[in-house]
């Protein structure tokens, strides 16, 4: 279920830990699997379990515990708006409302074209540049309605810049 590239990456992760601690590579293996498939299906989790020689339950409990794993399909770009206190004090509710309005979706929903999923998340550790959000691998800070609109246009245009 995984490409040679992903398998090689997981193999590289395993070398960081003692040979009898394959489980330590589990969080990384799930991340790599999700990067390739977009989300973690049950079949994919079972595959990772076999790959690392772990009981499937150990994989499920990790996949359901951590917030960065998606157990259902999401849009091509995940917009994760921080709503914790420093961002809240600097207008994160307005950021969410603006995005929701522009995209026509509510929290946790994906646009009909499958491009965007809108989420509110807890503190991302960039409080001094509030309000901010994470889009895929990148942080966007000091957000304004104008900067949000520009970013949406750029992402809609298919720019892979954010990856």
């Amino acid at each position: 279920m995984l490409s040679e590239k992903s398998l090689a990456e997981i193999a590289r992760e395993r070398t960081k830990y003692p040979s009898d601690q394959a489980r330590s590579a589990l969080l990384a293996a799930l991340r790599i699997a999700q990067e390739e498939h977009g989300y973690l299906s049950e079949a994919l989790m079972d595959y990772v379990a076999d790959l690392l020689g772990l009981p499937a339950i150990q994989v499920y409990e990790v996949a359901t515990f951590y917030t960065m794993y998606d157990l259902k399909p999401v849009g091509r770009h995940k917009l994760c708006v921080c709503g914790s206190v420093s961002c809240f004090l600097n207008g994160s509710d307005a950021v969410l409302a603006h995005l929701s309005d522009r995209l026509g979706v509510g929290l946790g929903e994906t646009t009909a074209d499958g491009v965007f999923t809108l989420q509110e998340v807890e503190c991302l550790g960039a409080c001094k540049d509030a309000p901010m959000m994470q889009v895929d691998d990148r942080y966007y800070e000091n957000l304004t309605p104008e900067s949000l609109d520009a970013l949406l246009a750029q992402l809609r245009g298919g720019s892979d810049d954010v990856r």
Binding site: R31, M68, S84, C127
Partner: protein, 427 residues
Amino acid sequence: MFVNGVTLRNRGLPDSHRLSVYTGTGGYTALRKVLLDPMAPDQIIGEMKKSALRGRGGAGFPTGLKWSFMPKGVTGTKYLLCNADEGEPGTCKDRDIMRYEPHRLIEGMIVGAYAMGASTGYIFIRGEFVEPIRIVEAALEEAYAKGYLGENILGTGFSFDLHVYRGAGAYICGEETALMEALEGKKGQPRFKPPFPASYGLYGRPTTINNVETFASVPDIIAKGGEWFLNLGKPNNGGTKIFSVTGQVQKPGNYEVPMGLPFKDLLEMAGGLRPGRRLKAVIPGGTSTAMVAGATMMEVTMDYDAISKAGSALGAGSVIVMDDSVCIVKTVERIARFYMHESCGQCTPCREGMGWLWRVMHRLENGQGREEDLQLLLDVGARIEGRTICALADGGVAPVVSSIRLFREEYEYHIQHKRCLIRMGAV
């Protein structure tokens, strides 16, 4: 004043994350000093004790003392971990150290590993920090290529391997034993202590764990002496400390200043309040620390002892500033939501209690508060505190209880008038 002079010294330089820039500004001289001069491990720990450096992750435990707990003469692997799972609301300093000064962190860890006899280390970075992860990984590659990491470092026979471990999204992994569980590939749920990590840590082996800023302070302490660092601050509160000043100030940011700086000076550095606003309240150490009234803060100095005297804690130095445009109930409701979301679910008082506190805060904020709700919040809080494995739940109780004490009339207004005393406008 000595500003941005230790862990963020190179932040303003181009390519400050590169090895060449770091070595060009005195980087890796501490490592050469301990390995080539050489310094005995006990001497290093002695300097650390002299410096009065206290853990910068929030608990403020003396670093030198912690290092001295690592058992000597044991066979097998000892581990050294760095806690870079920065995620307490208001805290954003470790991210900048990793982005701008990764080698300072790495050098601090190598010196620590040598002092404690650790042969393997992991830097546990929260998974969302993709940019810092890439920068630290590149810095590790540079350090390996230069012979500062790996086998036989600088030809001395000392070996130390250091890797990045990526988290996957969970505030609780900033708790040291939860972090170890996550590193073992499990759910990040804290362990009972004792046993403490120094005797039973990662994989059941002796382990020491420190915060990013703590490690990044080590090279200068070793190169310039513990006394030098101590004298930057004040007794028992040695050195400088990064304060992340956020919220309603004009120039939010990370300010590394001597311990004991008056709060009002720090506020001024951060640009002060917005025009026409008055200081209402401050959370001085991240949301897990008690809220302090603005007037009290204006008389307080920024160090562990003074903040603790004011009824709160310095925590990770995450200073959240609120002016008079803020509805305290709405703000604390938002903070309570964080703890509900981040409870790992292991201990009943926390799993149930964090949600309970949020639900009561939520109905207060939404005009459905009842007369008995304030007493209910205080009672629930009192029944949570001290009854859980880790400190997350106590941290969730602190903002609720402290804000009721300070702003009771605002809570009562919500109950009586079914709305906020202060309408927070769009920013």
